[in-house]
Symmetry: C2
Subunit: 328 residues, 2 copies
């Protein structure tokens, strides 16, 4: 490797810190700078001593950075930053609002094509690797059913919903795949399963002083959209215990394709993840796809891309010949 | 879909029959003809009434067929047919002699480039989907170890070895992944495991009349390269029972990447297959990649390709926009 791929990080939350950590494992890449909307002077990096700059100066770095990894959130950051930064850089983002992906793709694609950049959107594990396995499943076994189970892992949206319940001081919610449902799918029965039947919900709640535990529990388990209809458990714990036992961010899940070939032959494909850190794994996927984006950009293959559009070999630092020899 | 992709099958053994069966599930593809080195008049097709032609006439069909799926064996058929037929057609093959893949790639690539064709080689599940997962594993989790376990499934090479033992009339051998070894890998311990420690071998043997069972068993379990050093069980059964219980061709296996991110965070990726018919599943993969080959060829992207070189979205009959909307 003669020249390293020069990486920038835009946004320094859990994901930005994850990318910083993961880049130390990539010998063909080099972190150039971190960009933040906070005061750069107040930001201490975790693993490296690269410069931190204000986001408003980022346009000064277009020639210094090969690929910018966008580490903002999907709700407000990425819809704006995605197109704006794809006009200046090759980018990778983890945009994960499934319903709005077509809009995000169109906006980023237009900006990237106009400016001659390559921009991978919705990279991570879901959307991302799980999407790929839904695709492999239905493309290879067209007569079949795909199932996605998530967890065990913390759902940020459901944790936020818990915190809005009167009497709740702090809380986290774990989404847990229903073991029995997974076994039914694995057995090839192709059961019809709603999201509710595929998952249970486990809540760890710290009450505000004087709150009525029974009323809080009732408010949680009957909350429409979030908990009503689910098998939900509510566990009241102390703030200390929440801090000690529930600060990690594990996650995971499984995509199963249960299909039939020929005259009723059962065939099953399964892809699963067990992650001790959701943000660090998502960062690992972002970094591998940043390598692919760099190469596509060098080939003049511009515009927005998803994991569906990117040949897997581009993710590896190895040459195509080495991959054929070592891994095929 | 206006025009269907016109498919030819070269070779009509287990794999050819599997491709024929699987094509009936692909609404965007049409089987045009089967080519055989046997007497075409004597070949009865299983699922369809398409014409059967002698392999020596195949050059007459270059304009009638968009993609030819090569269903011959890796030992003698594909090394010769791969380059010869890539000079005439877009092709897909399942060449699986791992050590000789670079040579096969070079020969097919030269023929395909010279003639302006696209040729996917070594497509199936190993090499193929398992190779992809070894690639995803080490690209996304560079600090880690990859493990491939095969089975439970029949190994043709080991079954052939059994049949060469004096006193054996007929036999099959199942390769079985060692459950305990898989659990150690899943636990994140990253054990050092040889192929022998990852698998056990289970043999079902029909003796020739008068053969000495103890001597046959001894000859099997001590056979160098094939069984010596493995945990091998030998079961003597009748010819009727072999026929009844061991004629199916199940297989499967699992690829596990056990990796670490950041400061010692454990992350595990796992891909597994449980196949009731190995040839029908391999055929399913070949057919999906035939679709990709057709598209690459139309894009003018010629030469030999492997699963590493092919963007996953090309496997699906859906458009890129539909895939983003439905599966991402």
């Amino acid at each position: 490797m003669n020249e390293k791929i020069r990486i920038g990080i835009a946004g320094y939350g859990n994901l930005g810190r994850g990318v910083e950590a993961v880049l130390t494992q990539a010998p063909d890449m080099e972190l150039i700078a971190v960009f933040t909307r906070r005061d750069p002077a107040g930001l201490r990096l975790q693993d490296t001593g690269v410069p931190v700059h204000g986001m408003e100066t980022i346009a000064d770095f277009t020639t210094a950075i090969d690929v910018l990894i966008l580490c903002g959130g999907s709700r407000t950051d990425l819809p704006e930053q995605g197109p704006a930064l794809a006009a200046l850089f090759n980018t990778v983002d983890s945009y994960d609002t499934h319903a709005k992906i077509p809009d995000h793709f169109a906006a980023v694609d237009a900006a990237a094509r106009r400016s001659g950049h390559t921009a991978a959107i919705s990279v991570g594990w879901d959307p991302g690797l799980f999407s790929l396995h839904r695709l492999f499943g239905e493309s290879i076994l067209p007569d079949g059913v795909s199932y996605t189970f998530w967890g065990k892992g913390i759902s940020q949206g459901h944790s936020d919903a818990l915190r809005r319940v009167p009497g709740v001081q702090a809380a986290v919610q774990y989404t847990i795949p229903a073991a029995e449902a997974i076994e039914r799918v694995r057995s090839g029965l192709r059961p019809a399963l709603t999201t509710r039947e595929r998952h249970t919900r486990s809540c760890y709640v710290v009450l505000t002083p004087g709150a009525d535990a029974a009323a809080v529990e009732q408010a949680i388990v009957t909350m429409p959209d979030y908990f009503a209809g689910y098998d939900t458990s509510v566990n009241f714990i102390t703030a200390g215990k929440l801090q000690r036992d529930h600060a990690a961010m594990p996650h995971g899940g499984v995509v199963i394709r249960s299909g039939t070939t020929g005259s009723g032959t059962s065939q099953t494909m399964e892809f699963s993840l067990r992650l001790d850190s959701n943000p660090e794994f998502t960062s690992s996927v972002l970094v591998a796809y940043a390598r692919a984006v760099y190469r596509l950009s060098r080939q003049g293959d511009h515009g927005a891309k998803t994991v569906f559009d990117i040949a897997p070999g581009l993710l590896s630092p190895k040459s195509a010949a080495d991959l054929r020899k070592a891994l095929l």
